[in-house]
């Protein structure tokens, strides 16, 4: 029932990024046997699932990091691998996992990298670039840290600086691979709220998220993966069921609705008895 509703939704609204008959493999090992997915425009999509379910592989495929074995990634109606790399980078920004920067690189230095797709060979730093960097500093609330080297920042501040780099790229699409993986609770909330604010400005966002509770709280659209396939897809309140959670993680739990946000909350989680 839910499935058909979402299918109808994604077909009517224009989707900026989608995968058609996608097959992804590492060497001889097929990670994603066959998959179709479309990101709903202007929404936050969370890709969830257990370790090794292929969620990062899907994100890397969508971000054209790895070429699909078969099928196509469609960006604004055309095959992403047939568009010039720099043009793609003006439409789609990617924040990979576990980023590292050379020692001493400052927040501003990092954010300036986001302007690369907008600059041509040897072109000078333009007013437009400067403006984009300044508004990225403000948007990610790292203005006070502008001249600090990244290695002197806390994990949350550093991750906000990386997100600011993606903001400076000024793309309508943003893909993030576990943006909060190594952060404590407070810093996780910082980053998730920033992502929500970006979606509110009209960006289409997809992120791989490990923590199901955060996915429910901060995403409009959930893509649940198991064994390289999408087993359920739709708004959190429709998709998240005790059945699905047991299927994904092998745990049983109870669900209730968050009284303030209306998103599903998990509690009383324990290992499923077989």
């Amino acid at each position: 029932m839910n499935q058909t509703v979402t299918m109808a939704n994604t077909q009517t609204s224009a989707t900026p990024l989608s995968a058609k008959h996608l097959v992804m493999a590492h060497g001889s090992h097929t990670v994603i046997p066959q998959l179709d997915v479309a990101l709903p425009a202007g929404q936050v999509t969370a890709i969830v699932g257990p370790n090794g379910c292929g969620k990062s592989t899907l994100l890397n495929g969508l971000a054209r990091i790895h070429k699909p074995r078969q099928g196509t990634i469609v960006l604004n109606g055309a095959d992403i691998h047939k568009q010039p790399a720099r043009e793609v980078a003006r439409k789609l920004a990617l924040l990979p996992q576990d980023n590292s920067a050379p020692e001493g690189l400052t927040v501003t230095d990092l954010i300036r990298f986001g302007r690369h797709p907008h600059q041509s060979w040897l072109s000078q730093w333009s007013d437009e670039d400067q403006h984009a960097v300044e508004s990225a500093l403000r948007a990610a609330d790292v203005g006070d840290l502008a001249d600090r080297p990244l290695d002197t920042l806390s994990g949350g501040q550093r991750q906000r600086a990386w997100v600011a780099m993606s903001i400076a790229q000024e793309t309508p699409l943003l893909l993030l691979d576990e943006p909060t993986s190594a952060l404590d609770l407070g810093h996780q909330i910082e980053v998730f709220e920033l992502i929500r604010a970006l979606a509110h400005q009209g960006k289409t966002i997809a992120m791989v998220v490990h923590d199901l509770a955060s996915a429910c709280r901060y995403a409009d659209h959930i893509v649940a993966m198991l064994g390289g396939e999408i087993i359920s897809e739709g708004p959190p309140s429709d998709v998240i069921t005790t059945n699905l959670i047991e299927q994904l993680y092998g745990v049983t739990c109870d669900l209730m609705q968050d009284p303030t946000s209306g998103s599903p909350m998990l509690f009383n989680i324990r290992r499923a008895r077989c």
Binding site: I65, A85, N99, P102, G104, H116, Q169
Partner: protein, 328 residues
């Protein structure tokens, strides 16, 4: 503000070193007389010593220092390894072997030597990159240097083998292989210039994408760069630079290590700042070492390669100790 001061200091240092190199030498020429030449006077003999003996050395030292410093900085950023130095990794040895082979077969023109040297450096680069792909070697800075030392030893022993074949070639190879910029002519310098300029153009084009590669391959792709293409361009530039420098001065080790090390100590890890600082520091170190080589054992000369090794080896120790390499 601070960055500007670094540039002023390094460029003034280079100027000072250049002046010293023109004024001091192993010969009997007095400083006063050498100075007179610089102000447009001086005897014919003094004029010859300064303009025809010392000035070409200065020019060759400048080009060699530029090339090796920039090549070292590029290779270190590419492999993300502060110890990746063309001399230590076998790139210079590859080009030395190729040149020795050329000398054995009677090649004498400077242009040919340069191209052969660059081809040898390219082969050396390819072997280094292959070594970084071996499990465990790429991640560990010291292991890569060990792999490079093995390659260097192998290539040098093959070069020694070549020297056994022909006595005449052996003398020529032996002089060249210790590393020296003495007795070189303007012709040899101009023979390397076209490829050096080409390398410079490649570096200018590749530096921005290369800087993004330092943030990780996936970030670079996300910014619209093509890592494979960047690597290829940088490797070609390194081969042209190291090959050209080796053709001029012989295989000099440690220069590509010391120059970027000093540049990074002053300006931080950003490749663009490092390269800008390598421009004055590279020539300054080579020219200073060359001037020392003339003055230490007057009236004869010490090979330049010996001096650079004496300066470079302690710096290598310093880097390894400072990084506290955990397991061995």
């Amino acid at each position: 503000m601070k960055a500007k001061r670094h540039y002023i200091i390094t460029w003034s240092l280079l100027l000072l070193v250049c002046l010293t190199s023109l004024l001091f030498g192993a010969g009997t020429l007095e400083i006063k007389q050498a100075f007179a030449v610089l102000t447009g006077q001086g005897s014919a003999e003094a004029r010859f010593v300064v303009m025809e003996l010392r000035l070409p050395r200065l020019a060759i030292g400048t080009i060699t220092g530029l090339a090796l410093g920039v090549a070292g900085a590029l290779l270190q950023t590419l492999t993300r390894n502060p110890l990746a130095e063309p001399g230590l990794l076998g790139v210079s040895a590859g080009s030395a072997f190729a040149v020795s082979l050329a000398i054995l077969f009677g090649a004498s023109t400077a242009t040919l030597t340069t191209l052969v040297s660059q081809a040898g450096a390219l082969a050396g680069c390819a072997l280094v990159i292959a070594a970084t792909r071996i499990q465990g070697v790429g991640q560990d800075p010291v292991r890569l240097v060990l792999a490079g030392a093995t390659l260097t030893a192998l290539l040098l022993s093959l070069t020694s083998l070549l020297m056994l074949i022909d006595q005449r070639a052996a003398d020529e190879i032996r002089f060249w292989i210790t590393g020296s910029i003495a007795g070189k002519s303007w012709d040899q310098l101009t023979a390397t210039l076209p490829t050096m300029l080409l390398a410079g153009a490649i570096v200018i084009g590749a530096v921005k994408p290369l800087a993004s590669l330092a943030l990780g391959e996936r970030v670079a792709i996300g910014l619209g760069h093509r890592p494979g293409l960047i690597r290829l361009m940088v490797i070609i530039a390194v081969a042209l630079l190291v090959g050209g420098a080796t053709a001029l001065a012989g295989p000099l080790v440690f220069v590509g290590l010391v120059v970027p090390f000093v540049a990074r100590a002053l300006g931080g890890a950003d490749i663009r700042k490092t390269l800008w600082l390598c421009l004055p520091i590279g020539p300054a170190i080579i020219i200073a070492a060359d001037t020392l080589s003339r003055l230490l054992v007057v009236p004869s000369e010490m090979p330049l390669g010996v001096i650079t090794a004496l300066i470079g080896a302690p710096v290598l120790m310093l880097i390894i100790r400072a990084r506290r390499i955990p397991t061995l």
